[in-house]
């Protein structure tokens, strides 16, 4: 972990109406980051915005020293981040937190991304692909327009291209249910409005996979409501999994106790608080005590 007060931006790309990818040059982070870890980013010096914002490491290139963040504009800080241009710099602390535990060799893996949740899972996918593991990847979004990185994910999941499924459907939303091919390493898509892939939540696709009994390890990132469903499916099928959580952060390094989430274990019967920035952001799905 390090403190890098001026990291140069190489590129900022707009991927969808409100999602951007920013790439930076920071060999130390590129060399040491593990999938699931995050960076604590001071978007501007001074008071606007005041606090750092946490973003997952989205991709790294260990040779060139490049790192990338993938983010959605949701408020003040991300709006200011979207104004950054090539040559500007960001102030970063990282890599921070506990990342994903990599699967055992040969384990059948599924990644489940809801919306911007693909950000850390893409780095995990890069790492798995590099180790010869070709997981199933389930991508969810509200609409086809909001789907992120489908092509790039397909490239990494060798051979798992399902062209028909991914073409944007006009007129017959929901008629296609992202059918399960037999190919190892499939990319499946779900949209809320059915404009691409399965119509409905991405967790429907996970339920299908789990029913097939072929998945041994699941990694998920997305909205809390989705992760809660993922955790209950994993419990029902007795499958291991990890989830990446979000909480509002102050320090990002374990000092302020702002970012806690409820987990099982610890001194108390019902729950104990653990820090998302230090003991997380990745937790075993079964360890999390989910709220309403």
């Amino acid at each position: 972990m390090g403190y890098f007060p001026a990291v140069e931006i190489l590129q900022q790309e707009k991927l969808t109406a409100d999602c951007f990818r920013i790439s930076l040059i920071c060999p130390q982070i590129a060399g040491s980051a593990r999938p699931g870890q995050f960076l604590h980013v001071k978007i501007n010096p001074g008071l606007e915005p005041l606090l750092r914002r946490p973003f997952s490491v989205h991709a790294v290139n260990r040779e060139t020293g490049e790192i990338a963040l993938l983010y959605r504009v949701v408020g003040r800080g991300t709006r200011l981040l979207a104004q950054k241009r090539k040559g500007d710099s960001l102030d970063l602390i990282g890599p921070l937190g506990r990342g994903f535990d990599l699967p055992a060799a040969g384990q059948r893996v599924a990644l489940v991304a809801g919306g911007i949740g693909i950000a850390p899972l893409y780095f995990l996918l890069q790492t798995l692909a590099g180790a010869g593991n070709s997981p199933d990847v389930l991508l969810g979004a509200r609409t086809a327009q909001e789907l992120l990185l489908v092509r790039k994910v397909q490239e990494l999941v060798n051979g798992g291209v399902l062209k028909e499924q991914l073409s944007i459907k006009k007129g017959r939303p929901g008629s296609h249910n992202g059918s399960l091919s037999t190919f190892p390493g499939r990319v499946m898509v779900a949209t809320d409005d059915g404009s691409c892939g399965h119509r409905g939540p991405v967790t429907d696709l996970l339920a299908g996979l789990l029913a097939e009994e072929k998945v041994e390890m699941v990694y998920a990132c997305g909205p809390a409501a989705m992760l809660k469903v993922v955790a209950s499916l994993l419990e029902r099928y007795g499958v291991d999994g990890e989830v990446s959580l979000e909480e509002r952060m102050g320090c990002g390094i374990g000092a302020c106790l702002s970012c806690v989430c409820k987990t099982r274990g610890g001194n108390r019967q019902d729950f104990s608080y653990r820090r998302v920035c230090l003991e997380g952001p990745v937790f075993k799905a079964r360890d999390v005590v989910w709220g309403d």
Binding site: Y3, G250, C256, L257
Partner: protein, 306 residues
């Protein structure tokens, strides 16, 4: 010119410089060792400890507001015993005094925590937090009135031989009156200010943002309030003051010193810049050199004309 003197004395403690960390923003010190050398700090003030571990408040516990943050951590801490066995041994290794902040539900609990800490060797002083706005008990119900504040102070003084610093709340009609009462009760120094009670409402959800509904405001937004508090208290009590509230740079720290603080503590700024304490320290030193001031103590209260 020879290097200016930065050493100050607070409650009988000799500190190598006047830059401290604010309780609750610096964990137990170890969190910041990747970023700075703890040996360089005037003192480390750790998160408030209670007799038994505390879980703290529901989330969200933090929200950014204009030039500030609202927090409602609610004194989550591992308890005094676990601090002594798990966190203190490594923190002690540094050549920097460790000031332990304490809190309690009752006067007896404050005294009990103070007593436990006094039996452990190596603690430099206690900071008595009677000013946390985020707990139902043990915070403001003592800090908000002179009699309650004095009672806790006396109880802690009676339970320990360590220097006792009492941390005051700005959420009162007259902080000077409380400072006076606490000083009379035997406090060796005062810390001010703790956070200001505040609130933020999410207009989309139409609900308060924080899980605890209200929280404590800190950061640059509170600095003018804090400087005024130090100014007022300096005029009525002779015990040394540790000033804090929104300090992010050396000039901010100097405002407090000129208002009457003998030392300063850095809180929220640690979240923005993990090296804030060191940069503030270097900035103060630079200011002294540039203005040919031989000793930081010459500046304490220098903005007052009596």
């Amino acid at each position: 010119m020879k290097k200016p003197n930065l050493a100050v004395e607070i409650a009988g403690l000799k500190l190598k410089n006047p830059v401290l960390t604010a309780s609750g923003t610096f964990g137990f010190g170890a969190e910041y060792t990747p970023f700075l050398d703890l040996n360089r700090l005037g003192a480390v003030v750790v998160k408030s400890l209670t007799l038994k571990p505390r879980e703290g408040n529901p989330t969200p516990r933090l929200v950014e507001t204009p030039a500030g943050i609202l927090n409602s951590i609610g004194l989550q801490n591992p308890g005094v015993d676990s601090f002594l066995t798990e966190h203190f041994p490594s923190l002690r290794q540094f050549a920097t005094p460790v000031i332990v902040s304490i809190a309690g539900n009752t006067v007896e609990e404050y005294a009990a925590v103070a007593e436990k800490l006094s039996r452990a060797a190596g603690i430099a002083a206690l900071e008595v937090n009677i000013s946390c706005p985020n707990v139902e008990q043990g915070g403001l119900q003592f800090g908000a009135d002179p009699a309650g504040a004095a009672e806790v102070t006396r109880a802690v003084k009676g339970a320990t031989g360590l220097p006792v610093i009492v941390k005051l709340s700005p959420n009162v009609t007259s902080i000077a009156e409380i400072a006076w009462a606490v000083a009379e009760a035997g406090a060796d120094a005062l810390s001010l200010i703790n956070t200001l009670t505040g609130m933020a409402i999410d207009v989309h959800r139409r609900r308060p943002v924080l899980g605890n509904l209200t929280g404590g405001l800190s950061g640059p937004a509170v600095r003018p309030v804090a400087v005024r508090a130090v100014w007022e208290v300096y005029r009525v009590v002779r015990v040394p003051i540790i000033g804090m509230g929104g300090i992010v740079c050396a000039a901010d720290a100097l405002e407090f010193i000129l208002a009457g603080a003998r030392a300063v503590a850095v809180g929220t700024a640690n979240f923005l810049n993990p090296r804030a304490t060191i940069e503030i320290l270097e900035g103060i030193e630079h200011y002294l050199e540039e203005n040919e001031i031989a000793d930081i103590n010459e500046l304490v209260g220098a903005a007052h004309i009596f």
